[in-house]
Symmetry: C2
């Protein structure tokens, strides 16, 4: 074991790393968003998954307005320290479209197929 | 259904999108890497998952040298069209360290804990 120093992550030039949220029970990949140092610290400190909104340029505590929070179960980094994978307990829909997860558009034989309806 | 046009993805300024590979059977998230337009086309056309190596700046057909190929089972894009999720059949280790997957370093109480050994 070694002490985890967030500075050792390979942040982009904008100070971000991609973070994947996976349903801790079913294993479904719910979404991918971005974290900066502040949002990673907040996620680890509070257990409430917090991203960095690139469009709004602000801290984005998932579910703060919708109630669709993500409770952190565990957090891992990858071998080259430039990606985060979280196991989470998702309340309601992870996706802003009201779907359980964001990856509902499958590419099949060159066509887009919507595989899931909103909750 | 609508025809899938890769140009409608939200590529980064460098012409890339993050692509997540998930084990089609066990549901484990194996790795995250990047694709450019050419690698996405190759992945869909051949069924052999092909990334873009940012460090080598070349097309990276996963497993071409190691034999640890990823066979594409299905491919989806997310709601804002800037991330790809693939279900794959992984031969051997997805990670260059010889581990099944890349996310073997868990952060627990501020410590790094290695949760998996090489195969």
């Amino acid at each position: 074991m070694a002490k985890f120093d967030p500075e050792t992550l390979r942040w982009t030039q904008d100070g971000l790393v991609p973070a994947i949220a996976q349903d801790a029970e079913g294993g479904q990949v719910l979404m991918m968003a971005w974290m900066n140092r502040e949002s990673l610290d907040a996620t680890l400190a509070t257990g409430n998954v917090t991203y960095w909104s690139r469009s709004r340029q602000e801290l984005w505590r998932k579910g703060a307005t919708s109630g669709h929070v993500q409770k952190l179960v565990s957090l891992a980094i990858d071998c080259d320290r430039d990606c985060i994978l979280m196991q989470v307990t998702q309340v309601g829909a992870a996706c802003h479209t009201g779907r359980r997860h964001c990856f509902y558009t499958e590419i099949r034989d060159g066509q887009e197929v919507v595989t899931e309806d909103p909750l």
